[in-house]
Amino acid sequence: MSEPLITLTGDGLYCPQGAFHIDPWNAAQYAVVTHAHSDHARAGSTQYLGATPGLPLLQSRLGTDANIRVIPYGEVLERNGVRISLHPAGHVLGSAQVRLECRGEVWVVTGDYKLAVDPTCSPFEPVRCHTLITESTFGLPIYRWDSNSDLMSRINSWWQTNKAAGKTSVIYAYSLGKAQRLMASVDSSVGSIFTHGAVENVTRAYRQSGVALPPTYPVNEVAPRTKPWVGGLVIAPPSAASSPWAKKFEPASDAVASGWMQVRGTRRRKAVDRGFAVSDHADWPGLLTVIKESGASRVLATHGFAQVLARYLREQGLDAGVIATRYGDEEEGAELAAEGEG
């Protein structure tokens, strides 16, 4: 067998032939980044490569002086004989799978991905390969998402009920991606949408990139005395939950939008009124679909329930293993860690 196209170094996934890293967690010479979440895009590398639609997000994550080169999805770039291309991962705006080809050998690093409907980013595109490095955040068969329309109609009816009761609806969702997916998917005819500062910043970058989003009102820019948010929907990052900032929306009903909300125990420990299992990661059937469609004969799982997924795949006759990256410190992965299981 020829030398592997990707190896794991102390800095992250590395392609020796091409001399570049993918989503390195330490500063590197040349970093291909799958998306702008903090566990994938870290500041300090000399040069970055990402997908065009993600540029404003990468800039705000890595700093405007970072040396970022972007290429459109599907365009091929060659580096030391390795052909690199980026393909939509459906995770957040500009998220990409990284396809590497060298001497007929094809590897794909999925980064984070989902198959669920998301109007704020390009849908996942299957890519054929020999070796697939896949995320496995929700690599347990109990994670099977309800359809996006079911989820959103549940959120809408929660919002409507609160509005009828004179309450504000406060939903906690990761500020990059989840928040914008929510605002684009809920029924904005129910009421106005208000944003936490962190959410508003990212939302601005989304709009800059041409993503159509309903109007949002930053909470810190409206006159608090009039309590304009009563009956509205406030979108805030999970860190704002039970903070003094959240107090001003009383009387309110609060909710968390996260894949981990699939499990009752996690929902109850969050101590919010509702948990909606809305995730930007693939569920178990999604993981299996992507693996199958990739045609890969070898699969390396990383992040989350990697061991479980790898064992399952081996039992299905695939050559599968685990690769221990450090991804997963963002949103949903981080929540799991906080729950004590990471």
Binding site: L140, I142, R264, R268, D273, G275, V308, Y312
Partner: protein
């Protein structure tokens, strides 16, 4: 089933009592009596016995989901609950059923118990395929006899009262005792005419509040009656239309367990209801542990009857000659009670003595003999107070010698050291705060070796998560904790810190939802500000 599962989800997820009451009220407003009757039945903590062992459910679920045992176990480890693991693992429903709840219970659930395994499997798997995830969870809980909702009976009563406009007393009264969840029962429950009273029904118990601070705050001493606080089982004895009933506070009918009390009840004049404490008694009160030997026994051997006879230590008369005495002042009820006890003259009926005192100081001195008398302290009752419903502040106070006690729920455990290493003996306890448990104390001592073994087994079988050596467990076990002092603390999540917490006893009789609330614990803060009255 759909509406009920949605209601369950609403109740399960919200942390606010008023939201829970509202959700229930909205449900009852639109639900037909046949379904509503079952809903009341389940919500008030009644549940069908296990119809299918969960081992079978696991097997069938694995087959249906095409999941190997190891993968099922991984899921279960992560979820921490079999019913939920199965609900999440099964393939999506082919077509969701809109069969009403009563149908589900009567035609699908109840028949399961008498089916042989093969038929059970067909019935259960076809049920699964007609339900969505939330409904399956409720269904699984129902058929495994583990159904439990995070609402107290009081909240159910409030919801029903909101829907009917009837007072909560009437609803509580109608919900007590033995009833069948039929449409007829439900229409009686909601009936505007309140002159009903089932022959067997006890009255809702009037419960005392812990005394906060010194009794001097209660005002003039002559307005008060004092008795010992007996450490037994709170009970009412009902005699009506030639029938006798013994009810305990858990609303359990225990007439057959205590033949002594049945015998005495049979001798009561018709239309009498006594309130008091069941005590193990042999020339004096026996330890509570002795009573526990009788609690679980449905049939009592002659030997046990001789070894541990019980009495009713009565302290109130709620009904006489068929008339409800609750609006009468305690002084009047007491006089009539004394007359009844004298007239019946049964060795199993004792009158809780009124303590003689002319000042609070005298009472404080008498109270110091509590431990020698094997009582828990004193009860202070306002002479002119009616017999109220539930835990109403102001008229009945329990003034315990254990300065502070709290019923708390076991939330986590870790292994002990020394001779108990390897056993989960270091416990973390929580109390309720708006629907969730907050940690309020850790305790290491107080259980017997047998209880430690039992707790250890529970911890291993009910682990939710692991953090290093610590396991969080399903909130199911309730313990009475005692401690010496309490103060505000910014370092603790609960906002309070307690001194020298220890386990006083395992409250196997209490469901977790009946454990104390943070608010109740915080009310003890007031008490701790005065000097401890107890001198030990």
């Amino acid at each position: 089933m759909k509406a009920f599962a949605d209601l369950y989800a609403d109740l399960d997820e919200t942390t606010s009592s008023s939201a829970k009451v509202l959700a229930m009220a909205n449900y009852f407003k639109v639900t037909p009596p046949a379904d509503a009757a079952w809903a009341v039945y389940f919500l008030s903590g009644r549940k069908p016995k296990q119809a299918v062992p969960s081992k079978r459910l696991r097997l069938w679920a694995r087959e249906l989901a095409g999941v190997d045992e190891w993968l099922f176990d991984e899921c279960y480890e992560h979820v921490g609950d079999i019913a939920e693991t199965i609900a999440l693992l099964l393939p999506p429903a082919a077509k969701e059923s809109d069969q009403p709840l009563a149908d589900w219970v009567q035609n699908r659930l109840l028949p399961l118990r008498v089916m042989e395994e093969g038929l059970q499997k067909v019935a259960v798997t076809s049920a699964w395929l007609a339900l969505n995830t939330r409904q399956r969870f409720v269904w699984n809980k129902l058929i495994t006899g583990e159904f439990r909702v995070g609402v107290s009976q009081l909240l159910v009563v409030r919801a029903l009262s909101q829907v009917t406009g009837l007072s909560t007393d009437v609803i509580s009264h109608r919900l007590m005792g033995n009833w069948e969840p039929t449409p007829l029962f439900y229409s009686e429950l909601m009936a505007p005419d309140t002159s009903d009273a089932d022959v067997s029904r006890p009255y809702p118990f009037f419960l005392a509040h812990p005394l906060e601070g010194e009794p001097i705050a209660l005002g003039p001493v002559e307005e008060w009656q004092a008795e010992w606080k007996w450490d037994g089982i709170r009970a009412q004895i009902v005699r009506r239309r030639g029938e006798s009933f013994v009810w305990t506070r858990g609303e359990e009918l225990v007439t057959d367990r205590y033949p002594e009390l049945k015998r005495l009840a049979d001798r009561l004049p018709d239309g009498t209801v006594l309130d008091g404490e069941i005590l193990p008694w042999k020339e004096g009160v026996l330890p509570f542990g002795d009573l526990q030997k009788r609690i679980g026994r449905k049939t009592v051997s002659k030997k046990l009857l001789e070894e541990i006879p019980v009495v009713l230590m009565t302290y109130d008369l709620i009904e006489i000659a068929g008339a409800d005495l609750r609006e009468q002042p305690l002084s009047v009820r007491r006089r009539q009670l004394e007359a009844v006890v004298e007239q019946v003259a049964d060795s199993a009926l004792m009158l809780s003595p009124r303590l003689a005192f002319d000042s609070w100081d005298e009472l404080i001195i008498q109270r110091q003999s509590s431990r020698d008398r094997r009582v828990e302290g004193m009860m202070l009752k306002r002479q002119n107070a009616p017999y109220r419903v539930g835990r109403v502040r102001g008229d009945w106070w329990k003034w315990k010698i254990e300065p502070f006690t709290v019923d708390a729920v076991l939330t986590a455990a870790q292994p002990g050291h020394g001779k108990r290493s390897g056993l989960y003996t270091d416990y973390t306890f929580g109390v309720w705060d708006d629907g969730k448990l907050v940690t309020f104390a850790k305790a290491y001592s107080g259980l017997t070796d047998a209880e430690i073994q039992q707790a250890d087994t529970f911890v291993r079988a009910n682990t939710l998560e692991r953090f290093g050596p610590v396991r969080t467990v399903k909130p199911e076990l309730v313990f009475e904790l005692g401690f010496e002092g309490i103060q505000l603390s910014a370092r603790h999540k609960s906002g309070i810190a307690v001194r020298f917490p220890r386990i006083l006893r395992w409250r196997m009789d209490k469901p977790p939802e009946d454990a104390d609330t943070l608010e109740q614990v915080k009310s003890l803060l007031l008490a701790s500000k005065g000097d401890p009255i107890d001198v030990e």
